[in-house]
């Protein structure tokens, strides 16, 4: 900032020093666990099991990664999760726009009532068990649809999309289009959507992260290991320390895996988080934007 440069009294220098020091400490605190995980994943298995890694890799090796990539079960779970995320996000975005656009239109009769109907479910839900019974009742257990339909719409995302439509699509545009005989479908498809790139990016990312990171619905609704998303497989291995042949396949040599167990955990953490970490710097601004639109409303 320009103003900051004008005055550079001694007090301000101390102040700046404290600010930088504080942020540097924060940086170290946030980075250290990440570096530790990375270093461990590149260490020799005995060093990891003995707890010798503190900062840098001990006895550099790629054994863990080799084991991860040699194991088709992980790759399959990974690909399944990609599929669940892509299809789920697509459903989300379509339903969100279908709800948000009419509710953004001031000339929709009964708009207040519809909004209430949607918003109410944000604050009051039937609960875990009744929801489970519905999912079971409509026959979605052990089907990927159980991961998509019960969470097909996030009311919050619908509200920020609606806010976006209301603030960026001028009413004159609609009137002009209607003069030219444009109906609501064509208006939404040909005019609103092309103008809504940013908000579609924002909600797609919100939804995609949600799907990718989700494990609980899969735990509830799926009990066939060949349907498990990556997060559920990770839960078995990272949290419950269980490596069953269900996930490891017949090829896994149990004894060999046992020695690798700890090392493997670190490698799995890295491999499963890496895609997100690679993509995130490029899409960070969309997340920030989403938070801003939300704040506008809130």
């Amino acid at each position: 900032m320009e103003i900051a440069k004008i005055k550079n009294a001694k007090g301000d220098r101390v102040f700046s020093f404290i600010v930088y020091l504080y942020l540097a400490i924060i940086l170290v605190i946030v980075l250290y666990p990440i570096i530790f995980i990375l270093s461990s994943s590149f260490s020799a298995k005995d060093a990891v099991t003995a707890g010798e890694v503190v900062l840098f890799p001990v006895g550099f090796s790629l054994e863990g990664y080799k084991a991860v990539f040699d194991e088709p079960a992980f790759l399959h779970a990974f690909m399944r999760s990609v599929g669940y995320t892509v299809v789920g996000t697509l459903i989300n975005v379509v339903i969100t726009i279908l709800a948000a656009y009419p509710l953004a239109r001031k000339d929709l009769k009964g708009r207040g009532l519809f909004m209430l109907l949607f918003a109410f479910t944000m604050f009051f839900q039937g609960g875990l068990i009744p929801t489970y019974l519905v999912v079971k009742g409509v026959g979605l257990l052990n089907s990927p649809w159980a991961l998509w339909l019960p969470v097909a719409l996030s009311i919050w995302n619908m509200i920020i999309t609606r806010t976006y439509f209301q603030t960026t699509i001028p009413h004159d545009l609609l009137e002009a289009a209607q003069m030219d005989g444009c109906n609501d479908y064509t208006f939404l498809w040909k005019i609103v959507l092309p103008l809504s790139g940013p908000i579609i990016a924002v909600i797609s990312l919100f939804y995609a992260v949600e799907h990718w990171n989700q494990y609980f619905n899969a735990l509830l609704y799926l009990n066939k290991p060949d349907l498990y998303p990556l997060q559920l497989v990770l839960r078995e291995i990272l949290v419950r320390s269980q490596m069953s042949t269900d996930y490891m396949g017949e090829t896994a040599d149990a004894a060999k895996m046992l020695g690798l167990a700890e090392l493997l955990k670190y490698c799995l953490i890295v491999v499963s988080t890496l895609p997100m970490m690679i993509v995130y710097p490029f899409v960070q601004r969309f997340f920030v934007k989403g938070v801003m639109i939300g704040a506008l409303k809130g």
Binding site: D12, D184, I269
Partner: protein, 298 residues
């Protein structure tokens, strides 16, 4: 004119979703007052009034579970609340754009780690055998026998709260950065003219500038004290720390779906009890927040 009906047809799919996956569970929540029988179904099972509510209120676990839920929630709320504010205020005084970007980039990143992987990281990190803490202490010349913190009921709440702070502080500060960028630069210019130091400007311009936002967030968070990170608690839970890690949501899951003899009605009653409490709370604080919002235009 055929204009009106088209908007309604757009709403059909979202409404169908709303009815099936949001309102059916509300209807199904009546099993809390019934002796739910799989064969008889929801409407066929006989009414038992408040039997299951009373059973929960009089259960020896009631106070422990309520205490855990509120204790964890309030601990989290109070301790984690100031961190994003301090981070945003500090970032605001970093003149070096590259350093600022670096700090933002690094501190936002953990937000995108999935809850399963996050719990995996916590467990690896705190492991007395393979974790880095023993090694770090070793560097300082301390050779201590480390306790197994994951099995320590007294450590559970701190593990939950501080790992959450590690993961989400960066991302939560976005909203405060937005509020800070909305402060009129003329205020700062005038203050500099009057010879105000940076510390004084932070204290008298920036801090009051983001206070309304902070108050609103605090009030809203207070309204959500029953909405804990249920998925994370469930993952961190193990038989050793169950005494302090059992919260309402995990209890509902353990009673209703995980138990060998699942009791849907009992679990639903507890879930409904929580939802009603949460609903009353959020409505109350919403009202307060509205009033505060009007009077907070200082």
């Amino acid at each position: 004119m055929l204009r009106g009906w088209q908007l309604y047809t757009l709403l059909l799919l979202p409404l169908a979703y709303l009815i099936v996956f949001r309102y059916f569970p509300l209807y199904g929540a009546q099993i809390a007052f019934k002796n739910y029988n799989l064969i008889k179904g929801i409407s066929g099972s006989e009414w038992v009034g408040l039997k299951y509510f009373n059973q929960f209120f009089h259960s020896y676990e009631f106070w422990r579970i309520m205490g855990n839920t509120l204790g964890l929630s309030l601990y989290h709320l109070i301790v984690s609340f100031p961190f994003p504010i301090i981070l945003a205020l500090s970032l605001n005084y970093v003149a070096n754009a590259r350093f600022k970007n670096l700090v933002q980039m690094v501190t936002y990143a953990p937000h995108f780690i999935s809850v399963v992987v996050m719990v995996g990281i916590i467990m690896q990190f705190l492991s007395p055998k393979t974790g880095p803490i023993g090694g770090l202490l070793g560097l300082l010349g301390v050779d201590a026998q480390l306790p197994n913190l994951m099995g320590e009921p007294s450590a559970f709440k701190s593990i939950y709260v501080w790992s959450d702070i590690w993961q989400h502080t960066g991302f939560s500060c976005i909203i405060y950065l937005a509020a800070l960028s909305g402060i009129d630069p003329a205020l700062h210019e005038a203050a500099v003219m009057d010879g105000a130091s940076k510390l004084k400007r932070m204290r008298h311009i920036d801090f009051p500038g983001i206070l309304p936002m902070a108050m609103i967030l605090l009030i809203l968070e207070t309204g959500r004290v029953f909405d804990l990170g249920f998925e994370k608690v469930l993952l961190l839970q193990n038989p050793l720390n169950l005494r302090s890690s059992e919260i309402i949501d995990t209890y509902v899951y353990n009673m209703g779906l995980k138990s060998m003899i699942p009791n849907f009605s009992y679990a639903s009653a507890i879930g409904l009890f929580k939802n009603v409490l949460a609903f009353i709370l959020i409505m109350t604080v919403n009202r307060i927040s509205k009033k505060a919002g009007q009077s907070s235009l200082w």
